[in-house]
């Protein structure tokens, strides 16, 4: 973290990414509409940094993560990872590239085979990508367990014998097994209790330093995001509304949605006086999002222009971009 963000190499560049999911219906089951889960977003992640995506349910943050991994095939746009467009890769090449892109989900239990020991699960991860020769695998597994703070004996045990926090450590060990470059953490600590969450967050931070990892951290918890991120990207209804480095987003948030989001979170601090912007109503449907600025239906500062014209993401300060007519 000694090198300023601007001088770091870009590891992942997402350009005009769109992810529409068709809705079938009507007489012949044709596509009658689309859920515009992610609608034309552009951003990049630099080597060694943590970029967080925050937003409420339905904003498209998880869809973005899945699109990068090509778990869903994006509708359009490009995703350059180390200067190669992931979306143009064939199946075989993509499989090889997956080694560099790992993911940790919210519920590690669902992604761990209950009939396999931890040793077997990690061994399989090593075998698929074939990064470690067979005879060294056992010692590599022990090493991995050590990295995530689990005892070597854990190898012989089954997933159900572990607590939620320990399972998440296993999930992290599995992601680490193949020496990835980018790890996408999709609500990775959201299901954990605060005291366990803190342990896992500290672990992620120290692993990042140790292995020069890059994180794309998807979360709805802004406290966690503030703790782990270098930069933060705020999404609303499939659009990026603001991207900035951590300091500016938490201390000088510009977009009305970001400000409302930050002010909505109860903070146990008598000195931390804030003006609360209470938003009314619910998030509109991503099937038929509002014209103009997506946020205008709930924005307390709405102007006429917001209802007709989509604001572009514009640089408002060093390392700070915002998509709002009123701010710019």
């Amino acid at each position: 973290m000694g090198v300023p963000a601007a001088e770091k190499k870009v590891l992942l560049k997402v350009d005009q990414l769109k992810q529409y999911f068709p809705i079938k219906g009507g007489f012949f089951g044709r596509t009658i509409n689309h859920v515009k889960a992610v609608d034309d977003i552009t951003f990049d992640i630099k080597q060694g940094e943590t970029l967080s995506i925050v937003g409420e349910s339905g904003c498209g943050k998880s869809t973005t993560g899945r699109a990068i991994l090509r778990l869903d095939e994006p509708t359009s746009g490009s995703i350059h990872f180390q200067d190669r467009d992931l979306l143009s890769l064939g199946k075989k090449e993509m499989r090889r590239t997956r080694k560099d892109l790992q993911v940790i989900f919210q519920d590690p239990f669902a992604s761990l085979n209950p009939r396999q020991t931890i040793g077997k699960i990690l061994g399989e991860a090593l075998a698929i990508q074939n990064v470690v020769p067979k005879e060294n695998r056992k010692s590599r597994i022990e090493e991995l367990l050590g990295h995530v703070g689990l005892r070597p004996e854990s190898m012989e045990r089954y997933p159900h014998e572990f607590s939620g926090g320990q399972r998440q450590r296993i999930g992290i060990a599995r992601a680490l097994a193949v020496d990835p470059k980018l790890i996408i953490c999709d609500e990775a600590v959201s299901a954990l209790d605060v005291s366990i969450q803190a342990q896992v967050l500290n672990l992620l931070k120290s692993l990042q330093r140790q292995f020069d990892l890059t994180f794309l951290f998807i979360s709805h918890d802004l406290g966690v995001v503030r703790h782990i991120s270098d930069r933060v990207m705020v999404m609303y209804l499939g659009k990026i509304v603001e991207i900035a480095d951590k300091k500016s987003i938490f201390e000088q948030p510009q977009h009305p949605y970001t400000r409302a989001l930050l002010s909505a979170i109860p903070v146990p601090n008598p000195v931390h006086e804030r003006e609360r912007i209470l938003l009314t109503g619910d998030v509109p449907s991503p099937i038929d999002p509002p014209n103009g600025c997506r946020f205008h239906t709930r924005c307390p500062f709405v102007q006429d222009i917001c209802k007709t014209q989509l604001p572009e993401l514009k640089r408002s300060a060093q390392n700070h971009q915002v998509a709002c007519h009123i701010v710019s």
Binding site: D193, Q197, R226, P266, P270
Partner: protein, 340 residues
């Protein structure tokens, strides 16, 4: 703490146990607290602390078997709920004491309209006719801030958003003007901007109706902003019981301190979070002494030997920790701590 006359609910040494194949789990293991008229008491704790079981015990809604209220008393307006008949309890539930739950998505019956589910409670407790009850249900929906309540009342839960469903739950709970509202993690499943709306709504209605609220939550921020007093639970016991503001400025119990330190803060930068090592003990295999001792940085021998009582250490603060007792000075140091 306060005058007895103000006490609407007083829980003494409540014990709720679960009898399963794995053994007996003392999910709530002898807790005492009280609730004054119109105030908000927060009960905070992590999973397995027994906070939700406590809330269900108050209305005697523990599924039995395997659960059972094994002892203690719950005095509501001076009368013990644990000695009441099932029929008497039914006239209290939803009428004098109401409850809202964590999952608005699943807590409403999918096959009945929102209005019908509210009106049902009104017909039951206020002996109103179908039409009057329905009108009152619509009024309640208007009161909880649902736009075009006449239309919404006829809709089924799947046609409503999560935030709206929780509003419906609140309307249902408050329809009979209860004296106590138990809210079990009412905003945990909701997005933060919706959470802010719902908490604001509960606060407003509480003031208008004069309802006392027990708010069960894991979120310390929510406690700080909504509660007057707070009880911190750990492994089935209350470890600290004090004023809500006090707990953030002057926490006493090592668990409370640990919890606050592990919280990633929105209001400050932290390079490293201070964590509580280890995990919550298994409910089937509780330590002999203080249940927090195996994770406590200060634990001495005495902590592993005997359970400390919850006792007053100030005008409005009670703590169950040996550190605040005269025995502490004489206690010898514990054995080496175990890691994760």
């Amino acid at each position: 703490m306060n005058q007895d006359a103000d006490k609407i609910l007083e829980v003494k040494n409540l014990q709720t146990h679960f009898f399963t194949d794995e053994g007996t789990s003392k999910a709530v293991n002898g807790i005492s607290f009280s609730l004054n008229k119109g105030e908000t008491l927060g009960i905070v704790g992590e999973s397995g602390s027994g906070k939700s079981i406590t809330s269900l015990s108050l209305l005697r809604l523990i599924p039995s078997p395997p659960g059972k209220i094994a002892g203690g008393s719950i005095l509501f307006k001076g009368e013990d709920l644990l000695t009441k008949s099932e029929k008497q309890m039914r006239s209290i539930r939803g009428n004098e004491i109401s409850m809202i739950f964590q999952e608005p998505m699943t807590s409403l019956n999918p096959v009945y309209s929102a209005g019908e589910q509210i009106a049902e409670a009104i017909r039951l407790h206020q002996k109103l006719g179908k039409k009057e009850a329905w009108d009152k249900a619509v009024d309640m929906l208007r009161l909880v801030g649902i736009p075009s309540p006449e239309k919404r009342a006829k809709q089924e839960p799947h046609e409503l958003s999560g935030g709206m469903r929780q509003r419906v739950m609140i309307a249902m709970a408050l329809a009979c003007h209860p004296e106590v509202l138990i809210a079990d993690e009412p905003t945990t499943a909701l997005d933060v901007t919706i959470q802010a709306q719902i908490l604001e709504l509960i606060k407003t209605l509480q003031k208008d109706f004069g309802t006392a609220v027990i708010l069960i939550t894991h979120d310390l921020g929510v406690v700080y902003e909504t509660c007057d007093r707070v009880a911190v639970m750990y492994a089935g016991k209350i470890v600290e019981y004090t004023l809500a503001k006090e707990i953030f400025t002057n926490p006493k119990h090592p668990y409370t301190i640990g919890l606050l330190n592990s919280l990633p803060r929105l209001d400050m930068d932290q390079e490293e979070l201070t964590t509580i090592p280890g995990t919550v003990p298994s409910p089937y295999n509780m330590p002999k002494g203080c249940s927090f001792a195996p994770r406590c940085p200060h634990a001495k021998g005495i902590c592993e030997q005997a359970v400390p009582d919850l006792q007053a250490i100030g005008p409005s603060t009670e703590v169950s920790c040996w550190m605040f007792t005269p025995q502490w000075e004489k206690a010898y140091d514990a054995q080496e701590k175990v890691g994760i």
